[in-house]
């Protein structure tokens, strides 16, 4: 799993693999470990969203081929993006050991813990980043008019929790464009993913109540926006994002809202740890063996892992359904609706290609795919 395809998913994968086993009651994990994992997931979400918003979406919206020309034209914006990336790197490294393939989050707990002093230093760095967050909102507000107007009725699937805006844990929830919601237990994840193959692709597709569904920041927002922190709700309002939004290009805006959410939620967690102190919990050991499924939210959407272990601790089977795959069918359906719209607008080939590439990028698939996804051939 991972490599060029999913550095961010690997953080979630490490967290989820550990938690999948907990779900199957193989490992008992203390509440503090859960909170630390939430902190790690927020760092991952923050880092990935900053990367996508600034380095992939912003050049599109500014009409630049990449971030390189922006160094000359928007140097302070690029410098701000790198400062935010640096913050999330230090934040994720402190909790997870390193940002890619984290080493500290292990089955049964954490291999080592940050000290209160280190958390205080992190807190200072986070507070120093507040002006950059404020400026990020202003930048995205300024770019918002360039976000293409396109809407297609879509089903959105994300985790949902009664405890708050779900990122780490919860049940599976689907919401339709009319607001109709349906919950599923994580153990029943196959009932709402319904993987299938098509002759045109080597990748698996998924569908549930409609012919396709979307996962990701916009799916989370559409399912759970009422549970956002006030700061994130305010950010959404300032950016014109309202639930239920069916414009896939607005996924980038939803990511900005989640940057604010992850920042403030993490600051509260860090404050709590500083106040209470760090409690060292020994790693929990396996108590029994069997099969278990877990679901968590990663930057690109809901991620499912399922594993089966025998009494010797050997893995007998595994099944992972990643968000990029879950979005394949929805991207295809978006294409089928968008191309006729572009033809109707009499868009030239360059504009069509850009709008289609932007659509793929809006889903924030692995960056190799988002950069090299399309080879458009026009047949007249």
């Amino acid at each position: 799993m991972g490599g060029d395809y999913a550095p961010a998913e690997i953080v979630a994968g490490a967290v989820l693999a550990a938690r999948s086993l907990k779900v199957s009651k193989l490992f008992l994990v203390g509440d503090e470990s859960v909170i630390r994992r939430e902190l790690l997931k927020h760092a991952e979400n923050f880092d990935s969203h900053v990367l996508h918003v600034y380095f992939l979406a912003a050049p599109d919206l500014l009409g630049a081929p990449s971030v390189f020309p922006l160094v000359a034209t928007h140097g302070p914006v690029v410098a701000r993006a790198l400062r935010l990336k640096r913050l999330s790197h230090e934040w994720g490294s402190l909790i997870g050991g390193r940002t890619t393939h984290p080493t500290k989050a292990v089955p049964g707990g954490f291999a080592s813990l940050p000290t209160v002093k280190e958390l205080q230093e992190l807190r200072e760095k986070m507070l120093a980043a507040v002006p950059d967050l404020v400026e990020t909102l202003k930048t995205v507000q300024a770019l918002a008019p360039a976000i293409p107007a396109f809407s297609r009725p879509t089903e959105y699937i994300a985790l949902h929790s009664h405890d708050g805006y779900a990122l780490y844990d919860g049940d599976i929830q689907s919401v339709l464009p009319d607001g109709n919601k349906k919950l599923y237990k994580v153990a029943d994840y196959r009932k709402c993913t319904n993987e299938y193959m098509t002759a045109a692709s080597t990748a698996k597709f998924t569908k549930n109540r409609m012919e396709s569904y979307a996962a990701g920041a916009l799916a989370r927002f559409n399912n759970n926006h009422e549970q956002l922190l006030p700061e994130a709700k305010q950010a959404a309002a300032s950016l014109g994002l309202q639930g239920i939004c069916t414009n896939p290009y607005m996924n980038t805006v939803a990511q900005v809202v989640e940057i604010v959410q992850s920042f403030h939620e993490s600051l509260a967690i860090v404050d709590e740890f500083i106040k209470k102190g760090i409690k060292d919990e020994p790693l929990s050991k396996p108590t029994k063996f069997g099969k278990g499924a877990g679901a968590t939210e990663v930057p690109r959407g809901i991620l499912f892992h399922e594993y089966e272990y025998d009494k010797d601790g050997m893995c007998l089977s595994g099944n992972c359904i990643i968000p990029t795959n879950q979005n394949h069918a929805n991207i295809q359906k978006d294409f089928e609706a968008l191309v006729p719209q572009l033809l109707k607008e009499d868009a030239d080939e360059k504009k069509m290609e850009l709008r289609l590439e932007m659509l793929v990028r809006a889903y924030d698939p692995c960056i190799s795919c988002s950069t090299h996804f399309l080879d458009v051939k026009f047949i007249r």
């Binding site: 799993m1 490599g3 550095p7 380095f55 081929p65 990449s66 960056i367 190799s368 090299h372």
Partner: protein, 162 residues
């Protein structure tokens, strides 16, 4: 600080050699006097290790150099032109040369950087590693650590050498 950085892709067979080398160093407890970093394809994160105090970054990656599969070579970024086809900056697939250019544009303190290129036997969309490369991982680790630690000597230490 010195960094030994593995880049590559677990899903692309021998392109994973840099990452597997970092795994090996961690498993064998060889990380002494330097930090072993798994960067995967997220080359943009290399910027996070470019600080005034950074003495040397050694990047391990697969590289098609026209040598026999499994052979390796150390070279400087400025010695080569990338073979990868890129359009602008692809942060995930990560053309390191582009990242270095970006770092200089953004006035990062770019430390001495060396690349350890390992000739792949095959690069394909599959998890795994060829036996040719897998059998030489201890040798690669020894060479990489030696190069990371001793090939770039700070000026003040160099002056103390006999």
């Amino acid at each position: 600080m010195r960094y030994l950085v593995g880049v590559g892709n677990y899903c692309a067979w021998d392109d994973s050699i840099g990452l597997r080398l970092i795994e090996y160093i961690a498993q064998e407890g060889l990380e002494r006097g330097f930090r072993a970093i798994d960067l995967s394809g997220n080359s943009l994160n290399l910027l996070n290790y470019m600080e005034v105090a950074t003495e040397h970054i050694l990047i391990v990656d697969s590289a098609k150099m026209g040598r026999r599969p499994g052979e390796f070579e150390f070279f400087k970024p400025e010695d080569v032109q990338t073979q990868k086809e890129l359009r602008g900056l692809s942060t995930h697939e990560g053309d390191l040369l582009k990242i270095l250019e970006f770092a200089r544009l953004m006035n990062y303190p770019v430390p001495p950087i060396t690349i350890m290129g390992i000739e792949p036997e095959e690069i394909k969309n599959e998890m795994g590693l060829s036996a040719t490369l897998a059998g030489r991982i201890p040798e690669y680790a020894q060479a990489a650590i030696r190069h990371c630690m001793y090939s770039i000597i700070p000026k003040e230490q160099e002056e103390q050498l006999p």
